[in-house]
C-alpha cells in the first residue's frame, strides 16, 4: 500500500466516493458490516456530542471547545483500530478516539469547564491527556514507543497532530527519533487545511504532508481522511507494519474542519462559502451513511432515533459534569509533585488563613 501510494506522486488513497460508492474495491478493507455500522454509530455519537458541546459553550456553560465537526472519520477509524494494549497520544481534536480509549464525555466537559479533574481521564488506560503545546506530544509517543521495544511488547502508539503542527521543530525531532529508533509509532496528521486562520499552503511548500516521511526514511501515505474505509485500511496496515517491528509510519489524513477553530474563532474571516460548500460534499458521516443505506444496513429513521438517544446521553453526562463538586484549594497543590515540598504545604495553609479571615469579614 505504501509503495503504491508513494506520496511523492501526490496520489491519495480513497475507497468510497462522496456518494458512498466503492470506487476502489481492491483496496477496501475486510470489515464486517456490523463493525462498519458500529463505527458509524460511534461517529454519529461523537458528532452529536461535538455539536452539543459547541452549544453548551455558547450558553456560557463551558469555557472553550475545539470542534471536530467534519473530521470524524479520522477518529472514527482509529477508534476501531486501536486495541486495548495500544497507546493513544492525542492533540486536542480527536473526540472519537479519546472516547474509544475510555475517556468519558463527562471528563471532557469537566476539562472544558476548567476543572482539572477532567484532564486526568482517570478510567482510561494508555491514553495521554490532551496536549495543547502544538506537536510537543509527538515526542512522548516516541518515548513510549522506545519503552515498548525495550520491554519487547507488541503495543503500538498512535499519535495525532494537525497540519499546522508539522511546522514545529518537535514534529521533525519526533519523526526523526522514531525512525532512527525504529519504534512502533503511527503519526497521524489531521490535515484539516487550517491552523486557526492559516491555510496549509502558507504552512509548507511541500507537495503534501505525507511526503515529509521521506526525510526520515519511513513510509508515508496520503489518505482521504473523510473516507472511513480508507482511513481504516491505512491505519490497519500501519498498525501491522509497526507491530511487526518495521518502525514508524506517517499518515496524512486529508480532511476539513467544518466548524470554527475553537468557539472563539470566526472562520468567515479567512475562508469562502464556495470552499465550505465544496468540502460539505465530502462529509465523512454523509458518505458512510450513504454507503450503509445503499447496503440497507441503516436508515434515516434509525439515525434520527439514535441521535435523540445520544442527545440524552450527552446531556446526562453534561449534567453530571455540571453537578460535580466544586474544586477545593487542595486540588491546586495536591498533584504538583509526587513528593510535595514543605513550602507548598505552607502556601496552602497560609491561604486557608486568608479564607478564614475572609469568612470572618462577612
Amino acid at each position: 500500500m505504501f509503495k503504491e501510494y508513494n506520496p511523492i506522486e501526490n496520489k491519495i488513497f480513497r475507497i468510497i466516493d462522496n456518494e458512498g460508492k466503492v470506487i476502489n474495491t481492491e483496496g477496501k478493507p475486510a470489515i464486517e458490516d456490523e463493525k462498519v455500522l458500529k463505527a458509524y454509530k460511534d461517529m454519529l455519537f461523537a458528532r452529536t456530542a461535538d455539536i452539543m458541546a459547541v452549544s453548551y459553550q455558547r450558553q456560557g456553560r463551558m469555557y472553550t471547545y475545539p470542534p471536530n465537526y467534519g473530521q470524524e472519520a479520522v477518529s472514527g477509524a482509529l477508534a476501531q483500530i486501536m486495541r486495548e494494549e495500544d497507546w493513544l497520544v492525542p492533540a486536542f481534536r480527536e473526540l472519537g478516539a479519546w472516547l474509544a480509549k475510555g475517556a468519558t464525555l463527562k471528563d471532557l466537559f469537566l476539562y472544558f469547564k476548567g476543572n482539572e479533574e477532567g484532564t486526568a481521564f482517570r478510567n482510561a488506560k494508555k491514553l495521554l491527556p490532551i496536549s495543547v503545546p502544538i506537536a510537543s506530544q509527538l515526542l512522548h509517543a516516541v518515548g513510549i514507543g522506545y519503552s515498548i521495544n525495550y520491554k519487547q511488547e507488541k503495543d503500538v502508539v498512535f499519535t495525532i497532530v494537525g497540519d499546522g503542527g508539522t511546522s514545529e521543530g518537535d514534529f521533525h525531532e519526533a519523526l526523526n527519533f522514531a525512525a532512527v529508533w525504529k519504534v512502533p509509532v503511527i503519526f497521524i496528521v489531521q490535515n484539516n487545511q487550517f491552523a486557526i486562520s492559516v491555510p496549509v499552503k502558507k504552512q509548507t511548500a511541500s507537495v503534501n504532508i505525507a511526503v515529509k516521511s521521506i526525510a526520515y526514511g519511513m513510509p508515508g501515505i496520503k489518505v482521504d481522511g473523510n473516507d472511513f474505509f480508507a482511513m481504516y485500511a491505512a491505519l490497519n496496515r500501519a498498525q501491522e507494519f509497526a507491530r511487526n517491528g518495521n518502525g514508524p509510519v506517517l499518515i496524512e489524513a486529508l480532511t476539513y474542519r467544518k466548524g470554527a477553530h475553537t468557539t472563539s474563532d470566526d472562520p468567515t474571516k479567512y475562508r469562502t462559502k464556495e470552499e465550505e460548500e465544496f468540502w460539505a460534499q465530502t462529509d465523512p458521516l454523509k458518505r458512510l451513511f450513504l454507503y450503509l443505506k445503499q447496503k440497507n444496513l441503516f436508515s434515516d429513521n434509525e439515525e434520527s432515533e439514535l441521535i435523540e438517544q445520544y442527545k440524552k446521553e450527552v446531556d446526562r453526562q453534561f449534567d453530571e459534569a455540571e453537578n460535580s463538586p466544586a474544586t477545593q484549594l487542595e486540588d491546586v497543590f495536591k498533584y504538583m509533585y509526587a513528593d510535595m515540598p514543605e513550602d507548598l504545604k505552607v502556601q496552602q495553609m497560609e491561604y486557608e488563613k486568608f479564607l478564614k479571615w475572609k469568612e470572618s469579614q462577612q
Partner: protein
C-alpha cells in the same frame, strides 16, 4: 489596550519602512486577540503577515531580519507558547550585539499576551516575566494601561535592543481609557508612581495594578495611605523609584501573578534590603502566585490575587 497596541504598531509601520510584523495568525486574521487587526489591509502582505506555526523560527528569523536592518515586531500567541523560542531568545536575540561587539544589533520586539484571570485553559494563563528578566541582554516591558501600552511599545520598537513586550491580556479590553492619536513614547526602564502615599509602598505591574487600586479603596477606609508604583519595566528595574519610596514609607509589598519562588518579588525584596535596609519597619511582603501551575478556571480564583487578598496582606504588613 488592544486598540492602543494596534495604534502603536500602525504608527510605527507608517513611520519606518523597516518595521515588519508577523506571527501565527497575525496577518489575515489580525491575531488571536485581534491586536494586529486591519494592519495587513493597510500595509500589505510584505509588512504584516502570517507565519507558519513555529515559535523558534518566528524569533530566529526576526534575529536575522534585525541583523539585516529590519525592525521586526513578532507576535507569539501566549506566554505559554514562547518556550519553543527560548533558545533563540537567550542564545541569540539577547547576545548578537555582545557577540559582535556592537557590529550587529537586534532591534526587535517579541510581543505576547500573558497572565491569568480570563478563564483560559492550561498553558494560557501563565506569567513568566522573571525568567525573561533574568536573561542578560534583553529588556522586558509590561504595560498596565492603554496609554502606557502605546508609549512603551513605541519605545520598544525604536529601541536598538531586543525587547520582550508582555501584554496583560486580562485587561486587553477591560480598561477603557482615551489614548491620544499622535505618537508619543514612554521611556523603558522607568517606573511610575501611580499614586503617592505615606504608610506603605506597593510595587506591581500589568493587570495587578488594577487589583491593587481596588484594594487601596479598602485601605483608604482604614486610613492606610498607600504609595503605588507601577514597575512598567521588569528589566532594567528602576531601583531608584522603588528605593526612594520605601525610604519614605518604611514598608513594602509586591504584588505579582508569578509563582513565588525566584520571582520578580524576590528581586524587589532584595533591592529594598540592599538599598533601604535601615528604613524598613516591617518585612517586605511578597503577594504572589503559589509555586504551582496556574490552575484551570474552576480553581483559578484560589491562585489569582484579588483586591480582598491584597488588602488582607496589606493589613498584616501594617500591623507588624
Amino acid at each position: 489596550m488592544v486598540q492602543a497596541v494596534n495604534n502603536a504598531l500602525e504608527i510605527k509601520l507608517a513611520d519606518d519602512e523597516n518595521v515588519v510584523i508577523y506571527g501565527e495568525d497575525a496577518g489575515v486574521e489580525g491575531g488571536v486577540f485581534r491586536v494586529t487587526e486591519g494592519l495587513q489591509q493597510k500595509f500589505g502582505e510584505k509588512r504584516v503577515f502570517d507565519s507558519p506555526l513555529a515559535e523558534s523560527a518566528i524569533v530566529g528569523t526576526a534575529v536575522g531580519m534585525a541583523i539585516a536592518g529590519l525592525r521586526p515586531v513578532v507576535e507569539l500567541q501566549f506566554c505559554g507558547f514562547v518556550y519553543p523560542a527560548f533558545n533563540q531568545i537567550i542564545s541569540h536575540a539577547a547576545r548578537i550585539h555582545n557577540r559582535t561587539r556592537g557590529k550587529y544589533k537586534t532591534p526587535m520586539v517579541i510581543r505576547f499576551p500573558y497572565g491569568g484571570g480570563i478563564n483560559a485553559l492550561e498553558h494560557h494563563s501563565e506569567s513568566m516575566e522573571s525568567i525573561y528578566g533574568h536573561i542578560p541582554g534583553i529588556k522586558v516591558v509590561i504595560p498596565s494601561t492603554p496609554y502606557d501600552a502605546k508609549g512603551l511599545l513605541i519605545s520598544a520598537i525604536e529601541s536598538d535592543d531586543t525587547v520582550i513586550f508582555m501584554e496583560p491580556k486580562r485587561i486587553y479590553r477591560a480598561i477603557k481609557q482615551e489614548v491620544a492619536e499622535e505618537k508619543y513614547s514612554i521611556p523603558i526602564g522607568k517606573a511610575k508612581v501611580v499614586s503617592a502615599g505615606t504608610d506603605i509602598t506597593i510595587v506591581a505591574y500589568g493587570a495587578m495594578i488594577r487589583e491593587v487600586q481596588k484594594a487601596m479603596v479598602m485601605a483608604k477606609s482604614k486610613n492606610i495611605s498607600v504609595e503605588l508604583i507601577d514597575l512598567r519595566t521588569i528589566y532594567p528595574l528602576d531601583k531608584e523609584t522603588i528605593v526612594k519610596s520605601v525610604q519614605k514609607t518604611g514598608r513594602l509589598m509586591i504584588v505579582t501573578e508569578e509563582p513565588n519562588t525566584f520571582g520578580v518579588a524576590a528581586e524587589i525584596t532584595a533591592i529594598a534590603n540592599e538599598e533601604a535596609f535601615l528604613y524598613l519597619e516591617a518585612p517586605v511582603k511578597r503577594v504572589t502566585g503559589f509555586d504551582v501551575i496556574v490552575p484551570l478556571p474552576a480553581s483559578e480564583h484560589f491562585y489569582m490575587q484579588t483586591p480582598e487578598k491584597i488588602f488582607y496582606e496589606l493589613e498584616r504588613v501594617m500591623k507588624f
